[in-house]
Amino acid sequence: MTHADFQFKNQNNRCELHLCGDWQLGEVPAGEALCEAVPADCKAIALVTEQLGRWDSSLAIALLQLARWADAHQISIDTSGAPQGLQQLLNLATSIPAYKTSEAAASGGFMVALHDVVNNQWQSLRDTLIFTGDTCVALGQWLRGKAKTRSSDIAFFIDQAGPKALAIVALISLLVGMILAYLGSVQLRQLGAQVYVADLVALGMVREMGALMTAVIMAGRTGAAYAAQLGTMHVNDEIDALRVMGISAVEFLVLPRFLALVFIMPLLCIYSDLIGIAGGAIVASSMDVSLQQYILQTRDAVDWLDITSGLIKSIFFGVLIAMAGCQAGLNCGRDSNAVGMAATNAVVKAIVYLVVADAAFNILYDKVGI
């Protein structure tokens, strides 16, 4: 391969651009070099390509740069000496005028940015309220037996959210129970009251950690899956297809997921409570607390009110996870990147909702004396 080169030669009031060597992608002089080399008194440029070897579109790119520069300096270019393919490439690239986007709105500084942020937040809040309203309406329809919700879908999502999550919920709950027990043991051992580890673990799991940890697992596992499923359906126009069939996407797609999660969450919460308490028992046994003592202490520490308060939380958490996941999925954009964003949004939103709701529940329980 010979090196790509060029030379300007003055011939009777016009200059000839002699191209020689192989002009191949990555091996050619930059277009700017051509522009800079044009003689100052040049009024017209003619291409001479007798010594031109192999060439590809990189030559066309350099010549187009030269043509733009020449146009700005009112110099004409004659390409008739170029090979036919090269002429075709030059003509094709200039045959359709460039699309001009409307001028971008000038940045209005801090106030405009603030307005945009407030506006976006308001829009997001409005969408959430509308979605909540739609879900309530759909739920009402379902309770009256009029919703277009398939019971097979509900069963399918219960199976997905429940039995298939048992292993991960068990692992996390066991560890959380053990962590609570270790946390308490440090203090209680100093007082010689190790047996109260059972109270700490039982109350901690039943009132708080059982519901919260299950909810966090389900937000990451099931909430994200809901967002990705509905987002992909949106990308594939499946949701539009439902709409034109006169089927409400909320009734057909959201409600089965919502009902499945609301049904399964309290069951998983009870399961998590029991596993967590068992985890506490493992740690307690290493602190000279017998299993019998631990069970008796646990039974005395927890009453039905504690259990109910945890279950109410878990039902509400199920509602929040399903809402966050499904809303993110239905509001998803139409590309693969948007599906990923929807799944991320679902998880982040659900966890924020969970923590805020948990704090609100604790304040409420405190006020009513539960």
Binding site: G31, S58, Q65, A93
Partner: protein
């Protein structure tokens, strides 16, 4: 490459998925600068054949041999080392049915991707090359648009711009006109011919769009779903008149009569 040797030689090729054979005993030649159509009814295995030609589906039997694209002649992609495979891939441009643009990237980023991977152009040179390739397919000014912001026809043209980013010697198209109106389809055909003539590329197109086949095709192979093999190969305009296979003539004629009726 020796004189007279086919550019791409398909020899006794049998293709399929798992134990299922889709097409068998395919033997045909593709020559340099051919506009070659893989023709056949829906479900006959046109895309499967394309996949096996571009290294996505290993044949069950037989081989596809490429000459003049790498340092060795008569190269079988599946039996080559990584170096030869990279040389072949560098010389192939592939446009998928939907354009297969990366949705998280702008059109400019989509076209720039092969340049970033296979060349060491400066940022400015790359931007010039990308702008040029988009201008070539009539998308100048759309550099900063995302795939979700452009129409289906523009998707296909942007896919073509990405496929020709490295000036490939062979361009593969999977159903380029699918889903386009007749005018857009005609324009895309013209664009493919113009771009490929200018770049000196060989074109292989999977299609059952007979107006396209008969207007721009210079060579073809006809696949049959019932016998699971090829029925004929050659210039589609000649096959229309002189194919020994009734099925091929009927397939190509049907469109002709339909076009005449619609006129």
């Amino acid at each position: 490459m020796m004189a007279g040797e086919p550019f791409i030689a398909v020899r006794d090729l049998t293709i399929g998925y798992g134990n299922r054979t889709v097409q068998k005993n395919l033997t045909f030649d593709i020559h340099r600068k051919d506009i070659f159509f893989i023709i056949g009814g829906s479900g006959c295995g046109k895309t499967t054949l394309l996949k096996s030609m571009i290294g996505l589906l290993e044949p069950q039997k037989g081989e596809v041999l490429y000459s003049g694209l790498s340092e060795r002649d008569s190269v079988n992609f599946y039996r080559s080392d990584e170096k030869i495979q990279a040389q072949l891939l560098n010389n192939w441009g592939i446009t998928f049915q939907t354009g297969a643009l990366f949705s998280s990237m702008t059109l400019a980023e989509n076209v720039a991707l092969p340049l970033q991977l296979y060349t060491d152009l400066s940022e400015k040179q790359m931007a010039e090359a990308v702008a040029y390739k988009l201008a070539l397919v009539g998308l100048a000014g759309f550099e900063d648009f995302y795939p979700s912001e452009i129409s289906g026809g523009m998707h296909k043209r942007a896919g073509l711009a990405r496929a020709i980013a490295l000036d490939p010697q062979v361009l593969f198209f999977d159903e380029p006109s699918a889903g386009l109106d007749p005018i857009s389809s005609l324009r895309l055909d013209q664009l493919i011919v113009q771009v490929c003539q200018a770049l000196g590329s060989t074109v292989i197109i999977v299609s059952h769009e007979l107006p396209s086949i008969l207007s721009i095709g210079t060579n073809s192979v006809f696949l049959d779903a019932q016998t699971n093999t090829m029925l004929d190969t050659g210039d589609p305009k000649k096959l229309l008149e002189h194919s020994q296979e009734d099925k091929v003539r009927q397939f190509l004629n049907r469109t002709e009569s339909r076009v005449e009726e619609s006129l």
